[in-house]
Symmetry: C2
Amino acid sequence: MIKIALIGAGSIVFSGRLVSDLVHAAKAIRGAYVTLMDVSKERLAVVHRLATAYAKKTGASLTFVPTLSREEALRGADFVIHTAFVPGYQRMEAERAIAERLGYYRGLGDRVSDYYGGIGAYAQLRFLLELAEDMERLCPNAWLLVSANPVLEGTTLIGRRTSVRVVGMCHGSAKFWDVVRILGLRPESVEFSVAGLNHCIWLTRFCYEGEDAYPFLDQWLQTEATRFWQSEEYLFNPQNYQMSPAAFALYRMFGLFPIGDTVRSASPWWFHVDLAAKKKWFPAGGVDSEIGWTCRLSENLSLLRKLARVTPEEPPFFHEFFPTAPSAEPHVPFIVARVTGKPTRLVLNVRNEGLIPGLPEDVFVEVPCRVDAASIEPEPVDPLPRRLLLYVLLPRWLRMERVLQAFEDGDRTSLVLEVAEDHRTQSWNQAVQAVEALLALPWNEEARRHYRGPEQGWNWGLPEGDLRKD
Amino acid sequence: MIKIALIGAGSIVFSGRLVSDLVHAAKAIRGAYVTLMDVSKERLAVVHRLATAYAKKTGASLTFVPTLSREEALRGADFVIHTAFVPGYQRMEAERAIAERLGYYRGLGDRVSDYYGGIGAYAQLRFLLELAEDMERLCPNAWLLVSANPVLEGTTLIGRRTSVRVVGMCHGSAKFWDVVRILGLRPESVEFSVAGLNHCIWLTRFCYEGEDAYPFLDQWLQTEATRFWQSEEYLFNPQNYQMSPAAFALYRMFGLFPIGDTVRSASPWWFHVDLAAKKKWFPAGGVDSEIGWTCRLSENLSLLRKLARVTPEEPPFFHEFFPTAPSAEPHVPFIVARVTGKPTRLVLNVRNEGLIPGLPEDVFVEVPCRVDAASIEPEPVDPLPRRLLLYVLLPRWLRMERVLQAFEDGDRTSLVLEVAEDHRTQSWNQAVQAVEALLALPWNEEARRHYRGPEQGWNWGLPEGDLRKD
């Protein structure tokens, strides 16, 4: 019997997908024992009730056990799925509001709303590291499947600092199928490959019926794009950004088509300076504007409201919580491939080890892998354009190294230097203020103690007077 | 008889120092044959006349031969010294003025007035590459000593693309002796080491009478700095920046004291936004402000005027052109060490090959080396602070890679992307305009043909309309 621990199971959307995938794969992983772990007893109770009812309804032979104890969830686990978002959306929005008052439209971060666990990603990295250290003790042979952001920073940290077997997972690459659908291609005749860093992956191979399919993109831009970009499907759905002007501009700038969150995260600063810029490059302002992000929060809220109505007396509408087909999440297919040995192609985040020359060996890169019971074999990566490497991948890698250095050294100066390099920063003092304002929030008490400032203060111990000024 | 070729011999300041050093070392390199090569016949005639007269006066057994032919200078040379600044100061100032009108105070570049040969360093890199290719043909065993900027880009390019034996040279590290002098230490009791990239080197070891001397810096800041920074020596001399507030702020920010041009080049963007900022961090505005740079140009001009008065009838005042003691330039000491075999310690730019972990093997780093007839042995480098690597050295390395990629691929998009990342750039169109305005200058005709823009233009082939806007 395999044991799966789902850490952060209170996330309705994510847990819904995973439970659904487990139910669809129930035959392959017959009798799996799934612990649902979260810090919210209420959320956990709802998810557990739904999952159990759904398994019963579908006759899936799965056991779901709720727990508030991470230790209980991890002990003897074979697979640990980490999806927890420690700070939660309310703190995220409070911190964003402070940053906006200090001149940072939509807050600090990676040009998007992917909130990485507060300043310096502290909350997420601390949690992940402790989780991995617990695993070294309680389930040293288990696989850790990390979907919690930041995936690049998190997987690289764990790969460098612990003995845990870790792989990063993101459904972002599945947005490739939006390309196929919108171009009107038959999915079964498509071949593709992607490569890069998480949230920064690029279509390195794209074939249709054995021929290069990139010309379909060029042709679509010339003949279909204008109509598409004026359609309801596009203008009324901020999530529909895969075929946006931003994606095509990136393709032309860097030579490869960007896939999934890449369009948001890897697009340059001038795509994101204000709502007008975002609306130009992304449908309906994109996922990360006040418009798109509010739509997303609103959707989550509506789901939570429906869940609040679920009682043992009133049967849930399963289809509202559980996708009827397998989701695009690679977690369950990964588990099935490991358990049954059936080779499966999955886009995963694994140690680079030369796959992408120019990036260090121990950095986690996102590439298609062949997974079976014995191995996880990354496919070779076609050479990436030098311009893409120099203006996108290496800067993203450098940011990752800075986040990890600040975290590992408890280095507030590094946090401020990184904010100072943000294109919106107008002065050193503005960067200092932003970092100090976020660290001063009551829930950042631990981070405030962790990130020590310089002994001489932000004036670097220089004599008083004019020098104190910015 | 050894043969030395001096390429760019019309540079009065540089040639003055080298001729003086050669005269001082005349015994060691007895009978050396020195070709002075330049494109300016007039300048060459003056330098040649002075050098010959000086050698005669001092009884130095050296032959100086002027030539306008690079081929003649290179044929059979043992050492080739490259100091040529191809575009010249007038074009530099014309291009700076254009950039300033477009929003770039003091022009595009590396936060300083080190002008790298026009947009993308084109003029300097093209000249250097052709010089090295000529050497492969005409003097394949000669050493190429590169002092022409950009030294980092140039040496790395030549090291990667040709078989020429190349070493980079900069007198910047000699500014360390300003530290010693101003702290009031006896030079003979000082030990030191530096490491980094050209114009970005850091005091990795500093000992006085065998003890760590960094506390002298801390103490000086507390007790002497205020008085020093109000002194004439400091306020009236833009070149006196080694012990500036900028240097101490960098020391505190990154953990090591910056040496020489590092204080100018490696200081962050907010030290350089306008004259007020420059004046706060650097004496008299620093070398790179309109104040400091005009002083420098004015000094050069005054020297040229004096030279114009030099005639065979009126003997020159040698001391105005030739330093009476050996200069801080490492060229002649390098030649003497290679010729005589006497081991000599020199700060040089050589292939990294693991000296600084985190930088690629084939990048040229600036470190002390032991030079003798048979070898050039770099000293091991103490580990550099991670924060210094992540916020200073790696970004400078990345800039170098971008400059070389743009040059090698003839890639105008890359030029624009680099300018777009300049902290002063407010929009993509501003970056496009700056690059196009500089390439449109008549003397940049060749560069304009070399750096090809995208076929779809700067709108990336997106449909017309709002999308065209910035």
